[in-house]
């Protein structure tokens, strides 16, 4: 049993690690108003470069740290130069999506190079512990504290006493004014990405040594924790990010002390949601300060949608409907069933992200709610599957909307962060609420799909069922978009301030969008549960949320037909070309990057 002092020490040490990530995020946000979702990937890269240095090159510790810092900084510079600088004049959403794409690509490259299996990263320090008061502290703890404090000091000196540091500060307060003083903003961007990456990489190295283990799942976790710490401290506020990190470390450590390890992340995300709702500018911003620009304005690429003649659509719908009657392989039907399920999720997301402009990164949570509801109802209460799926849809609509409602007052990137956190919270509640959800064991033996007492076992019947549901949802959504309600949604997306001035209630319309979207996603999750027959808290994860977002952007934000075309393309093409599973995520990341750079309006155009 560890003492409270131990938990405090642990919290502060972990907080130091988070600070190294969060400070980089804050610097980047300050200068570019961008939440860099690739920060965790750099941390991952840092950990693996450290592994190469320690295990293969046998470098001494100081050299390892320098090696990792320099290599990670190089990665950061490359990201800035080739991933983000070309997007300088693009729509606001472009750089955010690009960092998501970059993070997929980096993570997958690390995974393909080093395999997804965890590796041990020895700490290179003697394994002794010193007694202090009622707790103990080891050399590695001191190293982490030392690196954290000296980085903070170096950064302080840099920002306060060097010309480039002044340029960074000036650019983060007023980019245009800084340019008018002769500050080269590209150089400033390069600088902050280099610094952020060096700190992030070293952080990954230290964490790997701390737990004596590294694996590719570290990346998303690090991004999430860094974002939490940064937002708690106030986006773009560097000292705030340090304090937010220490606070996060302590909250987690005490939470673990009281409730157990599986609650660690739950506390992190609850802290984030509470701060976002109560003080969206962070704990240390003055209350009257407006949220940093430009989280306002149009967030999607304007374009003229591609017109598809009605008859062509009808022919396509009919062709897919009779497909199972033709001699097609089981494999093709299976692939298309997956595409229809993803299509429903994409319909939901394209409405929420495209039509009303709330770019959700936690959409998989809606799948999970629908899936668990439907599975549990049919399994424990013997409710007919068809009815249970509808109930799943309704539950997802209701619960999803309630859970997401705290984020209604947020805008732009903050909506994305909040929905990401809410998605994580749902998955953590599923993990921890064992009496209902069966916790980490998951739910097995879910009854197969059935309709009016007939089991849908054959691939063709499952295909028709999923296809029909998706087509109906798509038709409903098209009607919705053409209606007065759809126009109000778009008005809110394009200019929420003006929309409010015209008397539109933002909360009501956002709720309606999430209710409709939640229903579609919940239905998709419900069908999936009965199709898979086994689900657990990781079945519907952030990777799926991002995949859905890629689908929606590929098709064109807000575009109903586009969402389905995007789903078929992203599910079908890798199957068609028989691309091995481990390369798929890499390809999704590359697709996202290419789209953002060359066709931000997607294949069929935004509506």
């Amino acid at each position: 049993m560890s003492s409270w002092l131990d938990y405090t020490i642990n919290g502060l040490i972990v907080g130091n690690v988070y600070a190294l990530v969060a400070v980089g995020l804050a610097l980047i946000f300050g200068v570019s108003r961008l939440i860099n979702f690739a920060q965790g990937s750099i941390y991952l890269v840092g950990a693996y470069i450290g592994w190469v240095a320690v295990v293969q090159l046998h470098t001494p510790l100081p050299l390892t740290i320098i090696f990792v810092a320099v290599a990670a900084a190089l990665v950061g510079l490359i990201i800035e130069r080739f991933g983000l600088r070309p997007l300088q004049n693009s729509v606001r959403i472009a750089p955010l999506l690009a960092t998501i794409g970059i993070s997929f690509v980096l993570d997958q490259l690390v995974m393909l190079t080093f395999s997804p299996n965890p590796r041990a990263l020895p700490s290179q320090l003697p394994d002794i512990r010193f007694q202090i008061g009622g707790g103990t502290i080891g050399p590695l703890d001191l190293l982490i504290a030392g690196v954290g404090i000296s980085s903070a000091l170096l950064l302080f000196v840099f920002l306060r006493y060097t010309k480039l540091g002044w340029a960074v500060r000036a650019a983060s307060q007023d980019r245009d004014a800084a340019m008018q003083m002769g500050v080269d903003v590209n150089r400033v961007n390069q600088t902050v990405f280099g610094i952020a990456a060096a700190l992030g990489g070293v952080s990954g190295l230290l964490v790997g040594m701390y737990y004596n283990q590294i694996d590719t799942a570290m990346s998303l976790q690090a991004t999430l924790k860094g974002v939490v710490a940064e937002v708690v401290g106030g986006a773009g506020n560097v000292p705030g990010a340090v304090i937010g990190s220490l606070l996060l470390g302590l909250v987690e450590s005490y939470g673990v002390a009281v409730f157990g390890t599986s609650y660690r992340n739950l506390f992190a995300f609850l802290l984030l949601v509470v701060v976002l709702v109560l003080r969206p500018n962070g704990l240390f911003a003055s209350a009257r300060q407006a949220p940093p620009e430009p989280l306002t304005g149009t967030f999607i690429a304007p374009s003229r949608p591609v017109r598809i003649p009605r008859w062509a659509l009808a022919v396509a719908v009919a062709a897919f409907a009779i497909l199972p009657l033709l001699p097609v392989s089981f494999y093709i039907l299976q692939t298309l069933i997956n595409a229809w399920l993803l299509g429903m999720l994409a319909l939901s997301l394209t409405l929420v992200a495209g039509t009303i402009g709330q770019v959700s990164l936690g959409h998989a949570a809606l799948l999970a709610i629908g899936a668990y509801t439907s599975a549990l109802l049919s399994l424990t209460l013997n409710i007919p599957v068809g009815l249970a799926i509808v109930a799943g849809g309704l539950m997802s609509a209701a619960l999803g909307t309630i859970l997401i409602s705290p984020s209604f007052r947020l805008r732009g990137h903050y909506v994305s962060i909040a929905t990401l956190a809410i998605g994580e919270i749902v998955s953590l509640v599923i993990l921890n609420w064992e009496s209902v959800t069966r916790g980490p064991i998951g739910i097995s033996g879910i009854p197969p799909l059935s309709l009016f007492g007939y089991d849908l076992i054959s691939p063709a019947s499952v295909y028709w069922f999923a296809y029909a549901v998706m087509v109906v949802l798509a038709l409903l959504q098209s009607r919705l978009l053409g209606s007065h309600l759809g126009r109000s949604f778009r008005a809110i997306r394009d200019d929420d301030i003006a929309a409010r001035a015209y008397g539109l209630s933002l909360n009501r319309y956002k709720s309606l969008a999430f209710i409709f979207g939640g229903f579609a996603a919940g239905i998709s999750g419900g069908i999936a549960a009965h199709l898979y027959s086994y689900i657990n808290h990781e079945t519907f994860n952030t990777q799926q949320s991002i995949l859905a977002l890629t689908v929606v952007i590929l098709g064109g934000l807000g575009n109903v037909v586009g969402a389905i075309v995007g789903a078929v393309a992203l599910v079908g093409l890798p199957e068609m070309f028989r691309i091995a599973a481990e390369y798929r995520i890499l390809i999704y990341g590359i697709v996202l990057l290419l789209l953002v750079r060359f066709r931000p309006q997607g294949l069929l155009g935004t509506i």
């Binding site: 002044w166 000036a170 307060q173 007023d174 245009d176 004014a177 340019m179 008018q180 003083m181 002769g182």
Partner: protein
């Protein structure tokens, strides 16, 4: 390269500017003579601030030429243009709110590398703007509007520019500060710095300007010596009426 004294310091010729589909400037031509104060008058949304942004390279014109001291500015980045010798006092001042007054003023010398001379210029600013002396370590964001305007002007002067462009330097200031700012513009000009300023308050601007242009929805509708424009009934009708009534 020889530049004749008669050649204007700054010349915009036939500039056409668009924001997306909307055209903001129609064949705009403006010249600023060496050592002159030139004023651009115009009502709201007539394209005045966009003219400043064209000069500073913050907005690119679709066609037309911008010459400064005999060389084209088209295609240069804002920092490059600043290094050529153009400083700015932006609309609404745009100080670095969380940096100190001292740091703000010194940011104006960002393009210079002569530390000693920069320190001397800072002292000079404090004699030109004596009020700022006691405020040096204060957050710039905590100053009053008039004081902020002083900082913005000091900041612009710190790069030792040949031309200062100012966007509505008197906007939102109390009458006392308005007079002070105009007085300072005259002083700055007497030290050899050319000034191109945008104003809505025509009667005040015409007091200190040598020449003036009147912009109306993106077109120059009147131009000439400030003295003559001041008495021009068309300027009276269009622009002075409002401010005299106020």
């Amino acid at each position: 390269m020889s530049t004749s004294a008669a050649e204007p310091l700054l010349a915009l010729s036939n500039v056409n500017t668009f924001y997306g589909q909307a055209q903001v400037h129609f064949d705009l031509s403006i010249t600023v003579g060496r050592g002159h104060i030139v004023c651009l008058l115009g009502g709201n949304a007539s394209g005045k601030s966009t003219t400043m942004k064209i000069i500073l390279g913050l907005v690119k014109p679709r066609s037309g030429e911008v010459m400064f001291d005999g060389a084209s500015l088209i295609g240069l980045t804002t920092p490059q243009i600043v290094r050529r010798g153009i400083a700015s006092v932006p609309e609404a001042r745009r100080l670095f709110a969380d940096m100190s007054v001292r740091e703000n003023i010194l940011m104006g010398a960002f393009v210079r590398n002569d530390r000693g001379a920069v320190a001397q210029d800072l002292d000079k600013m404090l004699t030109l703007f004596p009020k700022l002396g006691q405020r040096l370590s204060q957050r710039a964001g905590s100053l009053s509007g008039g004081e902020q305007q002083m900082v913005a002007m000091a900041r612009a002067l710190m790069s030792r520019p040949r031309l200062i462009v100012m966007d509505e330097p008197t906007m939102g200031l109390s009458p006392l500060y308005v007079d002070r700012v105009l007085e300072l513009i005259r002083t700055i000009n007497q030290e050899g710095v050319s000034v191109f300023m945008v104003e809505q308050n025509a009667s005040l601007a015409l007091e200190i300007a040598h020449e003036a242009y009147v912009l109306q929805t993106g077109r120059i509708v009147l131009s000439g010596a400030a003295r003559t424009l001041k008495d021009d009934p068309r300027v009276r009708d269009a622009y002075l009426g409002g401010s005299e009534a106020a």
